[in-house]
Symmetry: C2
């Protein structure tokens, strides 16, 4: 195994952002990894950032798996750093206190931020995987994170904390690795993807696949399927927000136009302009194939697969668990978090449910810092007490 910096990130995704403090290693003695599908795949490069310091007892590691379009940069931690996607929660003195915890934030398998994904070079062909990339699952992502934990020489993880797709990884971590973990926090996530969530993802994928530039996924030497990815993102952005938050942010305001320009087809409402802008922005930093493969992993997510069903699978999570729901979440509505907690309690597990009351929809876990801080610190204290009491 090798722990190198940016030199190993060979990607055909031209917009790959190499973070200055991103580290990486290549998995496995033989560089091969057996996926949940049974397919052997590799080598897998794992990119990650760390925040804070590992203590002498090596028992203060906090793993943060990221959401669909997230990355390893959850917070700024060096002079001149850009803010991260969880800047309000991760840092010195914050809820996930980097003066206390050794925070590990890996880029996800199948993504486009450094860890191996569809734009990576396939050693068998010397060309980007593209359509040859295998279907991966949340379980695969989690096993890759475990390999990272092993690589870092850790025998325990104090907590795993993740929202959305990161929450799915957190729950799967709980199923697979409760025995080496002190607590998990799964935020704004289901225990299995609902058909409505699958439906939204399918719209996005279909939009990408309909883009003539997609060419079955093998587009890296040509034009980029920007239009398709952009529309996919627009759908996503709707599901990350709520009717109420859109009223608050946009109402029925027009974009740089007076009321008498509404009869022009090119005049936009602010909400339209915003969505188009968000679509274009994602195109600047995200690979369309990663969108296809990662949303497929979201859809395949089902804690119960091969484990006797959803309720039975929850029995396998023995670690203290906090599940956080967002009151206005339309993508993963709160009944989905509540049924996880109910199921865990049926098996006698220590499980808490906290609802973040806000109008922001799914994105609330990135925005409602005060409520999130209260929930996370309250649970962290309980985990500490439980650990000390040997429960």
């Amino acid at each position: 195994m090798s722990d190198k910096t940016t030199a190993t990130f060979t990607s055909a995704f031209k917009k790959l952002k190499i973070r200055p403090h991103m580290k990486s290693f290549t998995m496995g003695a033989d560089h091969k990894f057996t996926l949940e599908s049974g397919r052997t795949f590799g080598p897998i490069t794992v990119a990650y950032e760390t925040y804070g310091h590992l203590n002498a007892a090596k028992d203060n590691a906090v793993l943060i798996p990221h959401a669909l379009t997230g990355d390893s940069h959850c917070a700024s931690h060096h002079p001149g750093d850009e803010p991260g996607w969880w800047e309000g929660l991760v840092g010195p003195g914050k809820a996930i206190d980097t003066e206390r915890y050794f925070v590990i934030c890996p880029n996800v398998l199948g993504g486009c931020q450094g860890t191996t994904g569809p734009a990576s070079i396939d050693p068998e062909t010397g060309r980007p995987y593209g359509s040859r990339f295998p279907v991966i699952t949340i379980r695969d992502m989690v096993r890759v994170h475990k390999a990272l934990i092993d690589h870092l020489g850790l025998e325990r993880v104090h907590m795993v904390i993740g929202g959305s797709m990161g929450g799915m990884q957190t729950l799967e971590w709980g199923v697979a690795y409760s025995d080496i973990t002190d607590g998990i926090v799964a935020i704004a996530t289901p225990g299995r993807s609902a058909p409505q969530a699958i439906a939204y993802n399918e719209v996005g994928r279909r939009s990408i696949m309909n883009d003539p530039n997609w060419r079955g996924g093998d587009y890296y030497d040509g034009e980029y399927p920007s239009d398709g990815l952009s529309v996919a993102r627009m759908v996503g952005m709707i599901t990350f927000q709520s009717d109420a938050s859109m009223w608050n942010k946009f109402g029925r305001q027009l974009m740089n136009a007076s009321e008498d320009e509404i009869y022009d087809l090119s005049t936009q409402f602010q909400v339209e302009s915003y969505l188009c802008y968000q679509g274009e922005k994602l195109v600047e930093r995200f690979d369309a194939n990663s969108y296809v493969y990662l949303t497929r992993a979201l859809d395949l997510f089902d804690l119960g697969r091969g484990r006797g069903g959803f309720r039975e699978a929850l029995r396998l999570i023995t670690v203290p668990t906090l599940v956080i729901g967002i009151s206005s979440d339309i993508l993963y509505p709160t009944y989905q978090q509540k049924e996880i907690v109910d199921g865990l309690r049926e098996h006698g597990r220590f499980a808490e449910y906290v609802e973040i009351d806000c109008p922001f929809g799914h994105d609330g876990f990135l925005i409602e810092i005060a409520q999130m801080t209260e929930a996370l610190t309250g649970f962290a204290d309980k985990v500490d007490r439980l650990r000390r009491s040997g429960a």
Copy 2:
């Protein structure tokens, strides 16, 4: 004015379905019509079907404006007829009883089912309007329906009953023509489109406009923008249903595949297959430009425009009004119907709210026939009593 049959339907939309009992007329003495935008436009052909018979007093007409992709065929009414989109509610002995009422169901301005729309031939060029078609509004649609009522020689309309986009037309009818109407029923509609609804529509339009075959809207001599319209429909179908109805109908069931085929990118969940099928089905019967123009009309819908705002506009509706909401509607949630009723009551109007309790989402108004029947017949009785009492 002329009342002809199918001969007048000159359309470049190759999939135009000429219903055997569809009638039409051409509006206006000079065949010109001034749109809400101030633009003069015409001639406008209006296609419609009628059901039942006008009574001697000419006071039993019921007008049914249709929803986005609906048409004039709301029910079968001749031997061999296909079922209509409101078959369960319109017919002899049904809630909208064609033995009692003279039902008029017009095709909408801007659509592609017979009434003038973007695929119609522009007399100035001899070619389809395409990108030259003007932006139209719900108010324009309603004034076209009023011209139809005039054409039929009617001085009063007993009731106007419409759902979704038909509900918007119903409310606008109430604003403009309360004085010649006995009652209106607005179903699953807002009083003004919310930004979230606009957002969904913008995804659909962007998808159509990104289709290389769309060519700015002037595609009638070439390939049809099927892919774009299909994705637009997929988004729409999600918003017409609900998370609960999708669990009931599809769950996480796969399409003709076993569990070990989930690792193939082409394997579909049933919900994905269903959406793709619905997308393809709409392409067979609907014009992409109509989708663009009609959704634009939806977005522009605001009862309050130019009338001192939404609440003030409700003052103009003086006719007894029933507003029906669907408990599980995610497109036009029930707060939107309740605020209409609240506003009407603030102005001292006779307004009732009935909520259809069902898991089907927005489409509930097409599905929950028993509850719809109860609501409609109850209100019809009240309208009769109010009319007899001269209220």
